[in-house]
Amino acid sequence: MNHDANDARHEMSGAPPLLAPQIPLPPYAYRPGRNAHPLRHPQGHMFGGVEMRPPLPAQNAWATETGHLHAIDLFNNKFWWEAHEAWESYWHSAPVGTAEHHALKGLIQFAALHLKIESADVATAATLQRNALQNLEVANGHGLVRGGRCLGFDLIEICALITATAPHLPAPKAQ
């Protein structure tokens, strides 16, 4: 799809402006069981692609990191699975136990939470909501995070968004 068509489709969606307009949005948003798996299906929009392991940007460079900005675009345009994949590539590169590692995991779970709500999988959604909040709270409490910002986000704001996304989910079962 060319950039013009991509922009027109995005403008119609009502989502905020693209942060990385140079990277087109995928032709469809993957929904498990409803359309082709992007990686495994021959007609998937990521089929045959090479798995990316981008290096982590410096802590204050996330707001200009193209791959991260594209992940936000994917999320804001309801490409939940694709956004989760994009953040997961950074998460693999993030050292375990760091604020970025926890924050990226929280974002991945936040994206997955939307998928589970759409598929009415309430139990999994409740668990994802709790885990996403826990990971972002851990990241927020990390000594390296200055002023509650990590990956360019205000983590307190993201936590509030996660709660507001599904305010009536039941308490998840104890692990």
């Binding site: 707001a63 309430v122 507001a164 305010p167």
Partner: protein, 171 residues
């Protein structure tokens, strides 16, 4: 940023549950009564002059038999909707008006069709299994179903996901 300044989530597309239960007992009774009425009227018309309008009775029974032959239940992100064969009129309960749902059973003496019971309204095509919707204000509405587990799961999932939405991330 304070919570009240954030963009409110817009509704996501939730899964929809739809199930049609077909019953045979109500149509059988009403069709049978219609045939019986038609036979009686046919005999009676030889003895006295009947207004043609009385033939509306067996027709009405046939129509009602068809109408009450199926119960259609739909659960989506906004409401639980229950209607008979023609999908109209329907009773609708917004998710916000439902406090909870649970499985229940009714004895045969409650009957089939539209029933007002001591436990609230019952719409039942056939069978004893039902799902009770506990409504705000203390009232209840019972939906007879042959997919009790599926309907209960759908209502509970819709109740848990109500108000769910997606708000954009901002740097």
């Amino acid at each position: 940023m304070p919570m009240n300044a954030m963009t409110m989530p817009t509704p996501t597309t939730a899964s929809t549950y739809e199930h049609v239960q077909r019953g045979w007992l109500i149509p059988l009774c009403l069709y049978g009564t219609a045939v019986f009425a038609a036979v009686i009227l046919n005999i009676a018309r030889h003895e006295e002059d009947l207004p043609w309008a009385v033939w509306g009775l067996p027709v009405l029974l046939l129509v009602l038999g068809h109408y009450f032959s199926a119960l259609r239940v739909r659960v989506d992100a906004r409401e639980v909707r229950v209607a008979w064969s023609w999908d109209w009129p329907a009773v609708r309960h917004a998710l916000d008006s439902i406090e909870g749902a649970e499985a229940c059973k009714h004895g045969w003496w409650y009957g089939y069709g539209l029933r007002w019971t001591s436990r609230g309204w019952l719409w039942n095509a056939q069978g004893a299994a039902a799902v009770r919707l506990r409504l705000r204000g203390g009232k209840c509405f019972h939906i007879g179903t042959d997919d009790q587990a599926g309907l209960l799961a759908a209502v509970n999932a819709a109740l848990a996901a109500r108000g769910a939405g997606a708000a954009p991330l901002k740097l």
